[in-house]
């Protein structure tokens, strides 16, 4: 080998090996030592005997092939660790071959890193794709001109468009109704520099057009690669929650109304007691028994959701439990009273019994009270008739003026239940006939205290 050529090869840094016709090593440049364990005494030995950190089997095959042809061959060899890659070029040279080796390790590293980055990017893109596809919330992405870049199936359910048909369309074109409200928030992010805005939107959904839906909407700024701004949004259907909240507020108002009404009634009874000219103890006893009677009927109603009560239960609470079954004769069919009639009949029976305890049958151990109730139609439509008859008590006469109890009975029955009350003071005792239109007494009037704000906006 020429001294000049050797110097030249050393200077270029190109790893080169010259082989003779029998593949014996003729000469090599120092750079070869990076990969091959050549020693000066290896000159003349067959190239295939020399150890290397590279996997040289493909090289050996190719070198054998190259000896039989005159074309140039190339083979890439990797180290066992895979960290280095060497490209070997095999060309005929004189009666043998010349092998030149170039280090492709950095290229291999770039390729590996690029492959990894690509796989990672694919995984990320896939994750985002899945998030969009399976998100329980509607999601969309808009460019700064409010044109769709992305939309998910849930959003499609709201506006009735397949997700892919959103792309490129303007927000207002896709959502004529919801759009303007959304657009004002999105503009605030694009123009105003807000990072995120939360709002409650209301509108109709194509998937369920009959009712008004409510969405909690989050709009957020997204910086695009080109430096521009996109706006992402997420709509989460909170209709059930909003309706539940409205129901709760309605119930709170209803409860507040009832409590206030009850207190108004109690105050009215206390005022009445203040006007009572009798002894204070008597007046206070009357007051407390009236409040208790009111509590009793409220208990009965509360037990049945404030809808109705059984007339027999009222009778048991107001009469049997206070005066004893042995002094009462109670008869009547199963009758369910509505809330208003429960309160009215409850108070009326309470006042009749209190009056009987003071002046009538319950004031004498031998005295008895019979209460019969029936459903009758004597030509004026169906009526609920209650017959209160006192016997064996002291003889009674009509009082010269109506007491508060009697006024209360008349107001309850005539004023609020459209019924009639007739009293007759018989020698054997007081008889009272109360008659009420059957429907007034029994038709469910659950909404009798209906909330005047029931149609109020469910949004607070």
């Amino acid at each position: 080998m020429d001294e000049d050529l050797h110097s030249f090869l050393s200077a270029t840094g190109i790893a080169t090996v010259f082989l003779g016709p029998d593949l014996a090593i003729r000469s090599y440049s120092p750079d070869v030592l990076r990969w091959f364990r050549f020693q000066p005494h290896d000159i003349g030995r067959p190239f295939t005997d020399i150890g290397s950190q590279l996997d040289v089997r493909p090289l050996h095959r190719m070198v054998c092939d190259a000896t039989r042809s005159s074309s140039i061959h190339e083979v890439d060899l990797a180290t066992d660790t895979g960290n280095e890659l060497v490209r070997v070029r095999i060309a005929p040279y004189r009666d043998g071959l010349v092998l030149t080796m170039s280090d492709l390790s950095h290229v291999a590293r770039y390729a590996r890193e690029t492959g990894q980055a690509l796989a990672e990017a694919r995984a990320r893109a896939n994750e985002i794709e899945q998030i969009y596809r399976y998100s329980p919330g509607a999601m969309g992405l808009l460019d700064s001109d409010l044109r769709y870049l992305r939309a998910n199936p849930k959003l499609g359910e709201i506006d009735g468009l397949p997700p892919e048909d959103h792309i490129g369309k303007h927000l207002l074109e896709v959502h004529p109704a919801l759009g303007p409200e959304m657009a004002s928030r999105i503009r605030a992010i694009i123009d105003g520099g807000d990072n995120g805005i939360r709002a409650t939107l209301r509108g109709r959904s194509a998937a369920d057009g009959d009712r008004i839906h409510y969405w909690q909407a989050d709009f957020f700024r997204i910086k695009r690669e080109d430096g521009g701004i996109a706006v992402g949004f997420k709509l989460y259907d909170v209709t059930q929650l909003i309706e539940l909240q409205a129901d709760l507020r309605r119930m709170m108002r209803e409860l507040q109304h009832r409590v206030k009404n009850m207190l108004s009634n109690v105050i009215a009874l206390v005022n009445r007691a203040k006007r009572d000219r009798r002894d204070h103890d008597v007046a206070l006893d009357t007051l407390s028994s009236r409040i208790r009677a009111m509590a009793t009927t409220h208990n009965l109603l509360t037990a049945e959701n404030w809808i109705s009560s059984n007339l027999r239960d009222i009778v048991e609470m107001e009469l049997t439990q206070v005066y004893g079954a042995e002094r009462l004769d109670l008869r009547g069919p199963e009758t369910r009273l509505n809330a208003r009639a429960t309160l009215g009949i409850g108070m009326a029976l309470h006042e009749l019994a209190t009056n009987a305890a003071k002046y009538g049958a319950f004031s004498d151990p031998a005295g008895r009270v019979s209460l019969r109730w029936s459903r009758m139609d004597e030509g004026d439509g169906e009526m609920l008739i209650l017959n209160w008859t006192e016997t064996n008590g002291p003889s009674v006469t009509a009082p010269d003026r109506r007491g508060f109890g009697t006024q209360l009975i008349h107001s309850m029955v005539e004023g609020t239940l459209s019924g009639t009350v007739s009293e007759s003071w018989e020698p054997e005792g007081l008889r009272v006939v109360i008659s009420l239109p059957w429907t007034t007494a029994t038709e469910i009037d659950y909404d009798s205290d209906i909330d005047p704000l029931r149609d109020a906006d469910p949004l607070p």
Binding site: R253, H257, K260, N261, L263, S264, N265, I267, A268, L269, N271, R272, R275, R340, G344, M347, F404, Q407, L408, S411, M412, E414, G415, T416, S418, D445, D447, S448, D449, I450, P452, L453
Partner: protein
């Protein structure tokens, strides 16, 4: 003429569907000097009273049950020149009552009732 002597000649329409409250308030009205108290417990009864003879002033409970209110009746009375005081167990601001009427919240004190009735009757145009 003092307020009381004016009131003794006045006919007041009083609508309240809660009998216990109605009886107590009727006592208050009597204490305040009203000589002619037409107490009714339902809207039809109120209409019967009005067609029998125009009252001079009206005190109306707003919530009449079954979702009905006396708001329209109140407006009708005001249109006919009859001053109106509404009473309600709800927050007064929550109800769309005629702004020419006064609204008092139940339960009310006799002083509140007195002041409200005085205010509406004294600002009434002379007939």
């Amino acid at each position: 003429m003092t307020a009381t002597s004016t009131r003794s000649a006045m006919r007041i329409l009083y609508l309240e569907d809660e009998p216990i409250i109605a009886l107590d308030t009727a006592d208050m009205l009597s204490d305040l000097g009203f000589g002619d108290i037409a107490m009714v417990h339902s809207l039809p009864a109120a209409e019967r009273v009005i067609s029998a003879g125009k009252p001079d002033v009206a005190l109306l409970d707003v919530n009449m049950g079954h979702g009905r209110t006396s708001i329209a009746l109140g407006t009708m009375l005001i249109e006919a020149g009859i001053p109106v005081v509404f009473a309600t167990g709800y927050a007064p601001s929550a109800l769309p009552c005629d702004p020419r009427a006064l609204v008092i919240e139940k339960p009310f004190r006799v002083e509140t009732l007195d002041r409200a009735l005085r205010n509406v009757t004294e600002h009434r145009p002379a007939n």
